[in-house]
Symmetry: none
């Protein structure tokens, strides 16, 4: 009798995509603990059932979100390393990466730390961080030997974590100084 249009949302491609983006936003704002089907659905302005339709589980959604995050950071870093003409420039680029890519865009800062810890618990996520670590180290190996590359990687994580938590985080200049002291 009535032509009930209900909600008229049908056919929304790249909704899956929006859900992933929304998830990253929530992790940045409220942490992994803040991610629930409900919170994601609300953030993406999508019905609740849609989240469970597109992802078989919350862990699945988290893994995809973190994969995307790791990918985008790694891509930028690889580009930086590729562009660096020599070791000297590479060191500066690493500093830039920390200050600008990891710490500068504040949401990303927390995102990385959240991923670190979530990975400590969830095997499925460990795969993600490890893939990211591997790419990161390979990019570094363009300019440094493997042992040094690994150490730099650890230093990067330490500087990021430290800055995320400290009341007086290091300035970009201090970060560059620390790296140059380590790699004279």
């Amino acid at each position: 009798m009535e032509a009930t249009p209900r909600r008229a949302r049908r056919h929304d491609p790249d909704r899956r995509d929006r859900l992933i983006e929304a998830t990253l936003g929530i992790i940045a704002d409220h942490g992994v603990a803040g991610v629930s089907h409900r919170s994601v659905a609300r953030a993406a302005d999508v019905p609740l059932g849609s989240t469970t339709y597109h992802f078989t589980s919350l862990d699945d959604l988290l893994a995809e979100a973190f994969t995307r995050h790791g990918d985008s950071i790694a891509r930028v870093f690889e580009e930086r390393m590729r562009a660096a003409p020599d070791r000297e420039a590479a060191i500066d680029s690493v500093a830039e990466h920390i200050s600008a890519d990891l710490l500068g865009a504040s949401p990303d800062l927390v995102l990385s730390v959240e991923l670190y810890v979530a990975a400590a618990r969830t095997p499925a996520l460990r795969t993600v961080t490890q893939a990211w670590m591997r790419r990161s180290r390979q990019a570094l190996e363009r300019h440094f030997d493997p042992t040094t590359a690994r150490e730099i990687d650890a230093l990067i994580e330490g500087l990021v974590l430290h800055s995320a938590l400290s009341t007086d985080p290091m300035t970009p200049a201090q970060i560059r100084a620390a790296l140059h002291r380590f790699l004279p």
Copy 2:
């Protein structure tokens, strides 16, 4: 002396204490996300009501647990720095601290990482990590200038985090080598 009743738990001093220890155990095993009044009560073999009686809220309980954790790690580190006769020995002691205190006793490893992240979210916890950081840096300043102390601190965090997540974590020897390279 007492006519042992059914549960015989009446007058149980240091129950508060046991609750805190139980909480740390749960964080180590299941993460901060695993902490609930129920899980703590179960782990401490204590009635549910007891957890809300001794702590006004879960966050309160978490803060106390983390405080104790930070204290005990800091105390050990301070002792190491105090015992080190000179800068050279101090560097080795830092390496020892990472390998033995932070990574060796595996539960503590995760505990620290969990604390790092929880602190990134909860202001009440940030106080705890910062107090810990301050003590840590002051202990380092017995042997190093403030700038170096801060950098070492960041490096420590990086090495811990890295080892917690890597498939091939650094050996104690590699950790010592990294520190010596940084502090020639």
Copy 3:
């Protein structure tokens, strides 16, 4: 400021009991498939959280409900067998049991059948049916040898099931006739 009485339901002993009774009612009316925390809470006029407080799981609740059902039927049957002066009277009592206890009180009829099937799936429930079967057979063994007792037990189940499903169920007289034919 306000003396908010909220719902004023506090202190309701034997609520656990009412939940079990409500569950049996639902099984009778809608089958085991109709039992959910919500349906039980509604039927017992109790808040949803109350059902999960008193029973660790739905299966737990079902097991308790069926145990009570089996107990009450078994108790009645035992009394009938005890009261029967001789074999002849016992046969009539079995017929009475089927017609009056199992089929007469119509809710119970379906209850028993539901239990039979639920037990075929859930090991925890199988314990319940088996305990009931054992009591039933022991009661029969007051008047019949073990082999006969087992056969009568099967016949009882068949007659109940048959009557529950047939369009023209047997009359009490027909049931008695069937038993007498089997036990001449």
Copy 4:
């Protein structure tokens, strides 16, 4: 003729059939409660939409599945009764039917019991069981009078149910003995 697409399932006659078989398999393995469009689609390796395309509702699918089950059992039983030369042989054939057809092929055992109960709830299914009962009784009436036929039918159900639930089910020999005692 066709440019084989990704899934190459186009034009798949007897898909309807496969869906019914898959449904019976699920009932046997997980009970009627385990039947959902999703579980059936998964078991039949068919897209989800296909299940709702071929059957207007889940109940419809269940009814068809049970009809097929009843048919196949009834057909076998009719054949057994037809083949029996006399009453004596018919009794043995009934025993055979219980031991071999109903209890022997274990999935079928549970299937029948599930059908019994589902029928107690769903009128649409009651039609199915009643049709089956009618055929069963008619087959028996080749050798027995109507009253006896009905009683045998009940006994069959009892023996099946009993065996499905008992820890020490009757042996084929015991089943035959019980029938012969009932039909001397």
